[in-house]
Symmetry: D3
Subunit: 185 residues, 6 copies
Amino acid sequence: MFYRKIDNDLKIGLSLPQYAEEMFALTDRNRRHLRAWLPWLDSIQKPEDTKSFIQLQLKRFADGEAMHLSIFFKNDLAGVLAYNKLDHLNGIGHLGYWLGEEYVGKGIMTKSVREVIDLGFTNWPLQKIEIHCAVDNLKSRAIPEKLGFQNEGTIRRTAKVYESYQDHSVYGLLREEYLDNHNLP
Amino acid sequence: MFYRKIDNDLKIGLSLPQYAEEMFALTDRNRRHLRAWLPWLDSIQKPEDTKSFIQLQLKRFADGEAMHLSIFFKNDLAGVLAYNKLDHLNGIGHLGYWLGEEYVGKGIMTKSVREVIDLGFTNWPLQKIEIHCAVDNLKSRAIPEKLGFQNEGTIRRTAKVYESYQDHSVYGLLREEYLDNHNLP
Amino acid sequence: MFYRKIDNDLKIGLSLPQYAEEMFALTDRNRRHLRAWLPWLDSIQKPEDTKSFIQLQLKRFADGEAMHLSIFFKNDLAGVLAYNKLDHLNGIGHLGYWLGEEYVGKGIMTKSVREVIDLGFTNWPLQKIEIHCAVDNLKSRAIPEKLGFQNEGTIRRTAKVYESYQDHSVYGLLREEYLDNHNLP
Amino acid sequence: MFYRKIDNDLKIGLSLPQYAEEMFALTDRNRRHLRAWLPWLDSIQKPEDTKSFIQLQLKRFADGEAMHLSIFFKNDLAGVLAYNKLDHLNGIGHLGYWLGEEYVGKGIMTKSVREVIDLGFTNWPLQKIEIHCAVDNLKSRAIPEKLGFQNEGTIRRTAKVYESYQDHSVYGLLREEYLDNHNLP
Amino acid sequence: MFYRKIDNDLKIGLSLPQYAEEMFALTDRNRRHLRAWLPWLDSIQKPEDTKSFIQLQLKRFADGEAMHLSIFFKNDLAGVLAYNKLDHLNGIGHLGYWLGEEYVGKGIMTKSVREVIDLGFTNWPLQKIEIHCAVDNLKSRAIPEKLGFQNEGTIRRTAKVYESYQDHSVYGLLREEYLDNHNLP
Amino acid sequence: MFYRKIDNDLKIGLSLPQYAEEMFALTDRNRRHLRAWLPWLDSIQKPEDTKSFIQLQLKRFADGEAMHLSIFFKNDLAGVLAYNKLDHLNGIGHLGYWLGEEYVGKGIMTKSVREVIDLGFTNWPLQKIEIHCAVDNLKSRAIPEKLGFQNEGTIRRTAKVYESYQDHSVYGLLREEYLDNHNLP
């Protein structure tokens, strides 16, 4: 309903309850694709589950605790991108994202993350943005690497995804690095 | 941050905590202008009061109870427009609105209300939209009259505005009237 | 248990949890009679539902938000009469009422409403009392008409009653009209 | 507003927020008289305190937890009488009461307590009613003694009243004793 | 996990969620033994019920409202002992306790209660400790009698235990009696 | 009140409200010493603040979310040691600790942490324990290094301590490493 245009094909907007049907459908047909990295899929069984999640995130946004966005490619919901946590005590925004399989490889997420980094450093007094990716999720790790984040360590077995534990690479971008890097590809 | 374009100069978007400073400033410099019709001005004394109000409305939107929008004219916040109550039990949306004095007379509100009537009948299963205006507020009453609403009665002394009581004209637009009228000026 | 005598046959009292069985029985045997005008009948399926409703109304009375009364005719619970909302911001009391079919036509409700108008203007600083009746509910409309209320308008499709929408006549009695009219029939 | 008549001069009713002013005034002019036995006087400093207390008790009555009554003698509020706790788990009602000094010695409390014992055994499935009195409060102890209660023990230092501790006589009346005694003086 | 040693075989500690399995097992195999005096057995049907109870008591301890302890004999959970209520308004601690049948007759409870009386008078400004025992529960009554409590009365039918009502002996120990008696057997 | 003995001079126990005075005094006289690494000192201004903190942690322990322990050296409260977060979703316990300056250099914390690692792996199904230390806090880092933790990375500017940001070394010990290392110094 309300958007921020990135280019002719691409726009983002706050995730709204009105998108629940479409977001659920995207999730549902990408279960196999997403299952390697996202631990919460089994809790989303019907559109109402997605709607409850969106309502919660919208309230957290109202309180300045998070910001959950939907990505639209040629007017279709293609994925999501979120500050899952805005840690104002320490001035850190924690970014996460996923795309439907059919939208991978089009540069959608790199452009979207870059826009949302701008939004983050502009709208809140953040001093750092972090992205945590599973070590083996090379496509996900490519995003912070392209955007000038620094790899700060590999935290072992930090996330349980179904029956296995994953090691995570921690990427960080400081505010001054962001200001220096402002003209990233 | 996220918008819906109406024309080159005019866009609307969900009211966000980030707009609190600008919305408070608009309210504050229009106190005299708004005082004739709006009873809540004395409860808004600082930007934080506006922010709390916006946070509440955003949470009510998340729950499907209301939708509070900001109107931007040439990128400046010019006024607000809201479904103050979405009465799903009876299928009725209650619209209210105000503009800063400097933005009156440019057709801003008529265009915005028309857009928001579309949003209302599209996003929720409403059967009617109501607008209540003070009998003496001729500029406000002109909007529903231009947009095909029917004047259904004059409810006496229904709103206390500071030390006086105001009679209100109740305007209503039924879904089928909306569908017939779709090509209003 | 605790009453206010109106005449030898008629008394009213705050609705108490102790009346739940009798009030449910009255509701239950009048379902057909009441169904034309009251939208909530399907939510009352057992005495416990009536009890929960009474408990809620008693708490709202404690907070000054409403006053729900039971009407006793020859010691039997004959109907109810309530300030469903006491809008202290605007000084308005909203009255509603219903009788079991066997008690209609005895003048019970006119006498009871007159008493409760007295109670309303005496106990709270109200400036107006409103009664909203379905346009087609002529027996209900006869009460405010007999008691000097003014018909202020017909609000279209304002209440969903099962599968249809009803237009409502809005009746209002201002405090000064009440003081002038004090010796109504 | 709503009463239960005991005799021509005496009636009781649920304590209502509307009585707060008069109940506070009674409390306030009897502080010295009541101070010997009631520990809560210092928490009641203005009518609003009494009103909050009444609101709480009315909500507890709605939930079946207590019943707080006002006693009216020749239309003046003379004292209070309450089931301070209705212990439904064990079927026990705990009664307490006080009168303004000017109303003592007229038989008001004995008649009122007898009525309220009836109400208690009639309205709830109680198997026992208890009254706890300070050992030295002979006027208070006279009531259960006149009404057939049994003295079951003297619990030492069970209540702190300002800077001293009081021993309490525990009086009990079983349901079958009540049924036998039904024609008490 | 954390203990207070009483003698080589006996120690007590705050009841912790980690003990839920063992406490439930003790309860479960002593149902017949405990049923004569404890009214709550039917609400404990699985270890999770015991765990919820322990969690609640630990939170009440955090707030200074109660203290629930587990008794360990030769490292096995043998029973429980609790200040079920710490009434700080009146300075009274209410003690209760039970042992598994296999642990009765070894002096466990007398030693434990004596220790917990010390803890009570030391940790909070109590002026009195009370123990209420069913009149017929001679083993339970033996404890306060051995420890210098005074029998203050027999309150009739004060506890419903399944389908019957029990009379309770009320035992009390004042702080100065405790200080005098400090070298009890 | 309830302890776990580590050696003749050293014991640990759940932090209890009863320790608030002593824990506040320890905190208060070590403000300068602790200020380099602990961000929360300014929020602790009186014993009541420490008590509220302990009450909160005890409730979180009751819910299995954390475990806050006090360390006693020769019966004096010497420091604290806590699972600040028990992340059961991912099976990770997050350990933190501090000592009063006068207790540093006696091996107190190494022994205590080793005991608490045992408690953690024994009481909950954890697969990993993590300790995060400021890079410059060499004394703090020495503990996980002595106890076989692996340094998994240096997360930049992850904690705001008064006006500066600190980089943190993340140390991790997996359950199987713990089982292998069981005979650490």
